[in-house]
């Protein structure tokens, strides 16, 4: 069981390394979107400090979402997905591996760069730590929920935009608790409550999503 998951993760990571552009681009998309806001809104530091958690989180949602369409599409297009579905072990395990790899490639780098961006918005050290923690805790849920959407829109024309339509509403709780944790810290209320809710969301979705996605993938392969 574990070795299937490991095999998938290893293969996906190797592919990502081979392409490189993947990791770099998701990260830069995040950075650019975050930097667009001060341009559109104006440079007042007070205003920006209030915006920071929301903007960072929305950018994180969008960056994660942007790499979702390819989560299964490449494997689908070249026939690998068929082969995976025909392997003796359950497809859910394979999806678990893919979700983990997706998070390592798209979620983890965001958490690592977030403090730097937070500095641009003049956040305090406390807030930066909570922000990083929240992104670390929340992004696995994004990968998990996203996997369901990616599987549902697999092979559907215009899938990329449709995917965002399906997935973004489901991301909202993560957004609310994620941004809420930072807000609460900034206003001195302490973000622990929000963080534990985030952790719960992540647990639930990472546990449940692979099986829902596997079901959706089987439908797509018919």
């Amino acid at each position: 069981m574990l070795n299937v998951i490991v095999a998938v993760v290893v293969r996906d990571l190797r592919l990502a390394m081979r392409r490189q552009s993947d990791i770099v681009s998701a990260l830069f998309f995040f950075v650019i979107v975050v930097s667009l806001f001060p341009l559109g809104i104006g440079p007042e530091p007070d205003l920006l400090r209030k915006l920071a958690p929301g903007v960072l989180w929305v950018a994180a949602l969008l960056a994660t979402m942007l790499s979702l369409p390819r989560l299964f599409a490449d494997d689908h297009r070249d026939g690998t997905l068929e082969q995976l579905a025909l392997a003796p072990h359950p497809l859910g395990l394979v999806v678990t591996g893919k979700v983990i790899a997706h998070w390592l490639v798209s979620g983890l780098p965001l958490a690592l760069i977030a403090p730097v961006l937070g500095l641009q918005f003049d956040l305090s050290a406390d807030a930066l730590i909570v922000l990083t923690g929240a992104i670390l805790l929340g992004t696995p849920a994004l990968s998990g929920i996203g996997a369901i959407g990616a599987a549902l829109t697999l092979g559907v024309r215009g899938g990329g935009v449709l995917l965002s339509l399906l997935v973004l509403p489901l991301y909202i709780p993560v957004l609310i608790f994620g941004a809420g944790a930072v807000d609460a810290t900034v206003s001195g209320l302490g973000g622990e409550g929000h963080l534990s809710l985030l952790a719960a969301l992540t647990f639930a979705s990472v546990g449940f999503a692979p099986w829902a996605s596997a079901a959706a993938l089987k439908i797509a392969l018919e």
Partner: protein
């Protein structure tokens, strides 16, 4: 006798199609009846609300529309669960038939809510939990419709859509309980049949309007379901008969 109440028989399109055809006029009539009664009571008879003035009369649409938007989603999720579990053909048709009406109800809830909010709260829109979750509900409806429209194979569309419905169903309790869980501007539940805080006429007219919306939704869903059914089953014998019946005249 036993055979009569066999659920599977009614779940088969060949039985369902004519049954729906006969039922539709009754539902339409009931909708009109309840609607007229509700409007009479609510618009002409009911007194003003001491807090909100006459503006409160939006409640007679807003609440039924809000209820129906949630209820229809639950019904769709129910059908979807049946469809995924037992692979019945009818369930996919029903969810697809219900979705547009549900989306319109969600839209009406938002619209009337906004029209109510402007005089009451001074803003068309505020970002409170109930309003937001109702907006998400609209997105879920639209996402469902977009997904099923984008998949060409009907059976595949049903299954994928069903899965999405089941995933999205978590939103409904959030809408309903949002007023309890978060401290919001939107007012909490005031319906309590035992000892209502509302004037009796108000309560009755709201219930009548809710019945009207309910009957209306059923009638429309059945109409749509019949069309979908005919289209999907056009190669089966009953559909051919139905269609060639149309050929030699017949209704519609």
């Amino acid at each position: 006798m036993k055979d009569r109440f066999n659920l599977y028989r009614f779940a088969s399109p060949a039985t369902f199609y004519p049954l729906a055809g006969t039922l539709i006029p009754y539902f339409v009539a009931l909708a009109v009846l309840f609607g007229l009664a509700g409007l009479y009571l609510g618009m002409l008879v009911a007194p003003t609300d001491f807090q909100q003035g006459e503006g409160y009369r939006i409640i007679f649409i807003h609440v039924p529309a809000s209820w129906m938007s949630m209820f229809i989603y639950l019904v769709m999720a129910f059908w979807a669960a049946i469809g995924l579990a037992f692979n019945t053909r009818l369930s996919g048709m029903m969810t697809q038939a219900l979705a547009p009406t549900g989306a319109l109800m969600a839209f009406l809830s938002l619209l009337t809510g906004a029209l109510w909010g402007k005089p009451m709260w001074g803003a068309w829109w505020v970002w409170d939990a109930r309003l937001t979750s109702e907006l998400i509900l609209l997105f879920l409806y639209i996402g469902y419709m977009a997904l099923t429209a984008a998949i060409d194979d009907a059976r595949r569309a049903d299954k994928a859509g069903g899965l999405l419905l089941l995933v999205g169903v978590v939103n409904v309790p959030i809408i309903y309980f949002s007023v309890k869980w978060w401290n919001t501007l939107h007012q909490g539940s005031s319906i309590n049949l035992a000892k209502s805080s509302m004037a009796q006429t108000m309560l009755w007219s709201m219930l009548l309007m809710a019945m009207c919306f309910w009957m209306y939704s059923i009638a429309l869903a059945l109409m749509r379901a019949r069309t979908i059914m005919l289209e999907r089953e056009r190669h089966t014998d009953w559909a051919r008969v139905e269609l060639s019946g149309h050929l030699t005249g017949g209704e519609q």
